[in-house]
């Protein structure tokens, strides 16, 4: 260290900006969540409007609360704590502003495009390719600013919170890029480069680790900084925090396949995911204990301080969620919980309890410091804490009950060996009272959020006209430092300390851990043939079916319907033959879903006449009286985009789907011809005329194709599916 004293001020304006939008987007994202919760009990609240329907708004809710609410909170926390831990102003004010406005533009783009039906369908990665590119660019801007600040820091040691931030930065970049590799098929349309089983694997490698590296590691970093600050005592065990960090980095990345138990994913991958998930118990609880023991001797403060109250409950929920996560990854438990509300309850315990309450605690701690005035109302913050806590409990208890109820009903058999609840809608109707309790719990949580917003605004209003900018002093780091840490060397077992002083080396090792763990799973998954045995009868979709599949994706049908029948008796009896890996080789992207609010659709093809689908889409309660599915009247009115059909088929060829040149060239005409055939059968069955070029006919073509290939011999399945279509149509005339 040099003896040169440097003076500097922190950039708190960027923290204020991120904090204010955190509150704004939190309100928006949660309000959308409340609306879709209400839609499940009052389907009329879909308003027969495409951009207000459940399937399109559900991704808006998840993206808004994850990337807008939690995302902006992460940036506020990182910008505030990093400057102080590094004793340096952020490297570039301009990059900070670019990061802020770029991220808000991305959020607005998501808020517009998702309700309009532009979606890739992959959970938490629904945004289409132009927005994905923007996310990557803005993430690089954030990373440049963060690493630039590390480079000009005045504190040698990188405090553990910064390690968690580094892991977040590098892992999210890797996950985002590799899960969003697509072939572009239009200005707002793309197809995943992966298909079926491999796409499912990549998606849940991403999905699980988005939870790990977006909703866990940055918040742990914030816990290790803001909890000691609020409690005014150091973290209980710094050594435990080091182990917490490295075990999370080593273990988390392997765990993704536990989202795909009993699916067509190879068993070795799902077992590996389960084992690593169970091992995650160890670091997660180590971290939780470390957090709670930091309050040792300061518990009396918790009764008076809403900030500490929020932190204590948040850490408790972290412990609960990270106990339950590994539990759900155990195959026999997952067989019951998967596709039910149990997963939704688990996710909300983690997000409302851990993420939400960490954010609220941080906001209340930061408000007086950022706005340089007292918090407007401590009582209001206390009230927020209590109604928020009651809201979470109401929400999760009701939804745990709903999950267990539906899971048990799915698998119940009567004395004669038949399904006790063969009609799927019976299992949904049973959940409605619990869904009302969720509305109440969620409503309370949002009311708390509104109180927080009110407190923020009122505190902001009392801020001074000009903020004071305290000048800080610290000794500059010298270049000799590098030589110093290098001399410490491995022989003195100080290599970890050496890394801690060398951010670039440290970051490289984090990347190595994340990437190598990923490759250990990804390489065999992609390169070993036995993982996806091919089925000769499975052929590419016709151009109209492909267009219908795009409608299915656009409407977000996969948010309520799975396309994956597990090899479990209750499922094969209810839905038919279990799903095979080879059935999905042309599915770019996969559409297995993760929740059954409606029944599985993997074998829906040929089950009902075409007219049934017309009536069902027009008004689901006309065919299934107690259905909670929204109506889709616009599908019968909106024309199919035949130019997009041609682009779609061409893009599929790029992905390796074996269409002939004639099928590519004549994609639009072949689609029109198949549409005319289906429309004719609808008229013959007593339905309306004039549907031949509508989105509805495309969707019906797709649904009637689903799961039928394995029922045919290879000889009857022509490469364009036309002969098979004739067979299906004859079946559809029943």
């Amino acid at each position: 260290m040099s003896d040169r004293v440097e003076r500097f001020v922190y950039d708190d304006q960027i923290v204020r900006m991120f904090l204010l939008v955190t509150v704004l987007w939190g309100l928006v994202g949660m309000a959308v969540g409340l609306l879709i919760a209400l839609q499940l009990v009052l389907p009329v609240l879909n308003f027969q409007t495409s951009w207000l329907s459940f399937g399109r708004l559900r991704p808006l809710h998840t993206n808004a609360v994850i990337f807008a609410f939690a995302g902006n909170a992460i940036f506020a926390g990182v910008y505030y704590s990093s400057q102080r831990l590094l004793k340096a102003r952020m490297w570039s004010d301009a990059l900070g502003r670019l990061h802020f406005w770029g991220w808000q533009a991305i959020i607005v783009a998501a808020a517009v495009t998702l309700p309009l039906g532009y979606s890739q369908s992959k959970e938490y990665a629904e945004l289409e390719w132009p927005i994905d590119i923007a996310i990557a660019v803005i993430w690089v801007v954030f990373a440049a600013n963060f690493f630039g600040t590390l480079a000009r820091r005045r504190e040698r040691h990188l405090y553990v919170a910064l390690w968690f931030y580094i892991a977040t930065l590098v892992a999210i970049a890797v996950l985002h890029i590799f899960n969003n590799l697509v072939v572009v098929a239009g200005p707002m349309k793309s197809y995943s480069i992966y298909a079926g089983v491999q796409d499912a694997f990549m998606q849940w490698w991403y999905g699980h680790n988005a939870v790990a590296f977006f909703l866990t590691t940055p918040f742990l970093g914030m816990m290790y900084y803001f909890l000691p600050k609020a409690a005014e005592r150091p973290v209980y065990s710094y050594r435990l925090s080091i182990l917490h960090f490295w075990t999370l980095v080593f273990l988390y990345i392997w765990a993704g396949p536990h989202h795909l138990h009993y699916t067509a994913l190879p068993a070795w991958a799902s077992t590996l995911g389960m084992l690593f998930s169970v091992m995650l118990w160890m670091p997660s609880w180590g971290g939780m204990i470390n957090g709670l023991l930091t309050l040792r001797g300061a518990w009396s403060k918790v009764t008076d301080d809403p900030v500490l109250k929020f932190f204590v409950v948040a850490i408790t929920f972290y412990g609960m969620s990270t106990f339950e996560g590994p539990l759900l990854s155990i195959k026999s438990v997952n067989a019951l919980s998967h596709y039910t509300d149990w997963t939704i309850a688990h996710v909300h315990a983690g997000t409302l309890g851990w993420v939400g309450f960490m954010i609220f605690g941080m906001i209340y701690w930061l408000l007086p410091r950022l706005f340089q005035t007292e918090l407007w109302s401590k009582k209001l913050a206390e009230l927020h804490f209590w109604i928020g806590t009651i809201g979470i409990l109401l929400y999760i208890v009701a939804i745990y009950a709903a999950g267990l109820t539906q899971g048990l009903m799915f698998r119940a058999f009567d004395e004669s060996g038949r399904l006790a609840y063969p009609d799927f809608v019976e299992t949904t109707v049973r959940l409605i009272p619990m869904y009302w309790v969720r509305v109440l719990g969620g409503g309370l949580y949002i009311a708390g959020m509104a109180l927080c917003a009110w407190n923020v605004v009122m505190t902001w209003r009392r801020a001074p006209a000009v903020y004071a900018e305290p000048v800080h002093e610290a000794l500059a780091l010298t270049r000799e430092y590098r030589a110093e840490v290098t001399a410490a060397g491995f022989q003195r077992a100080a290599w970890h300390r050496r890394w801690e002083g060398m951010p670039l080396t440290f970051s490289i090792w984090v990347v190595v851990a994340v990437v190598s763990a990923s490759l250990f799973e990804i390489i065999p998954m992609f390169l070993i043939r036995s993982n996806v045995p091919t089925i000769a009868a499975v052929k590419p979709y016709t151009s109209l079916e492909l267009a219908g599949r795009d409608v299915y994706i656009s409407e977000g049908c996969n948010n309520c319907h799975s396309q994956m029948i597990r090899p479990i008796r209750s499922e094969t009896v209810r839905y038919g033959e279990y799903s095979k890996p080879g059935e999905f080789v042309y599915d770019h992207p996969f559409l297995w879903g993760s929740r059954r609010i409606g029944p599985d659709l993997q074998r829906i093809g040929g089950k009902y006449p075409n007219l049934w689908h017309v009536r069902h889409m027009e008004d689901p309660r006309s065919t299934t009286p107690q259905s909670i599915m929204p109506p889709y009247p616009w599908l019968a009115k909106r024309p199919l985009d035949f130019a997009a059909v041609e682009r779609g088929v061409a893009a599929q060829v790029t992905l390796g789907v074996p269409y002939t040149p004639q099928q590519v060239k004549g994609a639009a005409e072949l689609a029109r011809e198949q549409g005319r055939q289906i429309a004719q059968t609808i008229v013959e069955q007593g339905g309306p005329k004039g549907l031949e070029e509508t989105q509805l006919v495309g969707l019906i073509a797709y649904l009637q194709r689903l799961g039928t290939d394995i029922k045919k011999s290879p000889a009857t399945a022509g490469p364009d599916g036309r002969r098979a279509e004739a067979e299906r149509e004859s079946a559809g005339r029943r």
Binding site: Y10, S81, Q83, R84, L85, K87, E155, H157, Y159, V160, A161, Y224, Y225, P228, K229, E232, R233, P234, V235, S237, Y238, R239, I242, L243, W246, T247, F250, W254, W268, L272, P368, R369, Q372, E374, L375, W376, S377, K378, K379, M458, A468, P470, H472, R492, A493, A494, W495, H496, R497, A513, S516, A517, F520, E521, I523, P524, L527, I528, R529, S530
Partner: protein, 67 residues
């Protein structure tokens, strides 16, 4: 012979076992170095870092709200 042929020739157990050994060894090394007595002082200083910053603009103020 393609890469797929080569990879398909390997037993799957190789990947899981190699991963387990590598990650286990790395983790063990971190545990050892973390708990070495000679690093205690360093970690003790590190854990105090969040409390060192002097950026608290509230210091010395009376904590009062509108109530």
């Amino acid at each position: 012979m393609s890469l797929t042929d080569v990879m398909s020739g390997f037993g799957l157990h190789l990947f899981a076992e190699a991963g387990l050994v590598l990650f286990g060894a790395a983790f063990l090394a971190i545990v050892v170095t973390t708990f070495l007595r000679r690093n205690r002082e360093h970690f003790e200083r590190a854990r105090l870092l969040p409390l060192e910053d002097d950026g608290d603009t509230l210091k010395g103020r009376e904590a009062r709200t509108h109530e």
